[in-house]
């Protein structure tokens, strides 16, 4: 049996076109795996590099000497510019969200969600209420969620007194070493 098979194989080998036949077989089922790999890589690249939604992405100022701050360990505030000096301050990384409720109990739950990145909360426009909300967010973030910095994503046209107000509120939380940062885009 084994011997027969070997003889068959040898017979086959003895037939003239050994190498040409194999070549034909190779080119027939062309391996497309590398092509698929490259296509997937390109796909992922373009998904990641695709233009972010302008409704969500803040129009940040440019600066050349920014340093990287980890978003995971930062309490993020977004200051949206509505034009004519009107602004909205959000807790979280984004420019759309629901107003923070008045009741302190509900507030805490939403603040916690926003700090974890699962929600975006519009902070009240009233300066005192806003300061209070910012202070509580910073305290909660520092105590329970290991946040060590504050990142203020303020848009280009926001008046200075608004960012100053946010900074002051953060300072009023009185946490030592809580770094304050203005988010920028690197470049001119």
């Amino acid at each position: 049996m084994v011997d027969d098979q070997l003889h068959d194989d040898i017979d086959e080998l003895e037939e003239d076109p050994i190498l040409p036949r194999r070549r034909v077989k190779n080119s027939a089922d062309l391996d497309i795996t590398p092509m698929i790999d490259i296509v997937f890589l390109l796909l992922i690249f373009f998904i990641v590099a695709s233009v972010p939604d302008p409704q969500v992405e803040a129009d940040l100022p440019h600066a050349r000497h920014g340093k990287g701050v980890d978003k995971q360990t930062s309490v993020i505030f977004t200051v949206k510019d509505l034009g004519d000096g009107q602004t909205e301050v959000y807790l979280g990384n984004g420019k759309r969200g629901d107003l923070l409720p008045e009741a302190p109990g509900d507030q805490d739950a939403i603040i916690r969600k926003a700090l974890a990145g699962h929600a975006i909360a519009l902070l009240p426009a009233d300066p005192d209420a806003q300061e209070d909300a910012i202070r509580r967010a910073v305290l909660e973030g520092n105590k329970n969620q290991g946040k060590t910095a504050v990142l203020v994503k303020a848009e280009k046209g926001v008046p200075f007194h608004v960012t100053h107000q946010v900074g002051k509120a953060v300072g009023s939380a009185g946490i030592e070493g809580m770094g304050l940062n203005f988010a920028v885009i690197e470049g001119q």
Binding site: D3, L6, H7, D9, I10, L13, E14, I18, T33, P34, D37, F40, L41, I44, V48, P61, H62, A63, R64, H65, G66, K67, G68, V69, D70, K71, Q72, S74, V79, G85, L151, K153, A154, E155, K156, G157, V158, P159, F160, H161, V162, T163, H164, G167, K168, V170, G171, S172, G174, M178, G179, L180, N181, F182, A183, V184, I185, E186
Partner: protein, 176 residues
């Protein structure tokens, strides 16, 4: 690998010797391709994908930013010093930003970002008053209604010329 025997066979007339046959011609090749030459390509592909994924998520979780001091600390310490005192302090360059976003370095207007950088560099390198070296601290005094963009530009310029300490304060409305 199997070539030498086959060419030898054809040369010797097509009848392989039994000794050659008993030393198996085909099986070794099958063994090799099945076990020794384990195909690493899919694993390498998956590894590269994971690598790229983690590189990109790591890069995207960083946000470029400029740090600034908390105003509260300033109001207790620096603000307690009168503006006059800071102005007379030779170790400070003062950058003022007015509500129309015009920028003044030690009361001289800077017309552009480039100009601002130049003026700051000059101010830092030329000794002011009696001090032996130029001032190394920057105080940015911004009008409440000036644009955030301008404030960031001033802070960035301060970092660019290597100021050790950059302070940011809000100018009183009555000042202008």
């Amino acid at each position: 690998m199997t070539e030498p025997p086959t060419t030898a066979d054809t040369v010797t007339g097509g009848h392989p010797e039994p000794a050659d046959v008993s030393a198996p011609l085909i099986p070794p090749r099958e063994d090799k391709s099945d076990e020794d030459d384990l195909d690493m390509t899919p694993m390498v592909d998956v590894t590269f994908l994971l690598l790229i994924f983690f590189m990109i998520t790591a890069a995207f979780s960083l946000q470029k930013s400029i740090s600034f001091p908390t105003p509260e600390q300033e109001e207790n310490a620096a603000q307690a010093r009168t503006l006059q005192e800071v102005e007379e302090d030779f170790d400070y360059v003062i950058v003022e930003i007015h509500d129309d976003d015009s920028v003044f370095v030690d009361e001289v207007e800077a017309s552009s970002k480039q100009d601002l950088l130049e003026k700051l560099r000059d101010a830092r390198d030329t000794p002011k008053g009696s001090s032996a070296r130029g001032p190394s601290n920057l105080l940015v005094m911004a009008h409440p209604d000036c644009r955030h963009e301008t404030v960031v530009m001033a802070l960035d310029a301060g970092n660019a010329v290597g100021m050790e300490d950059v302070k940011l304060t809000m100018a009183e409305d009555s000042g202008y």
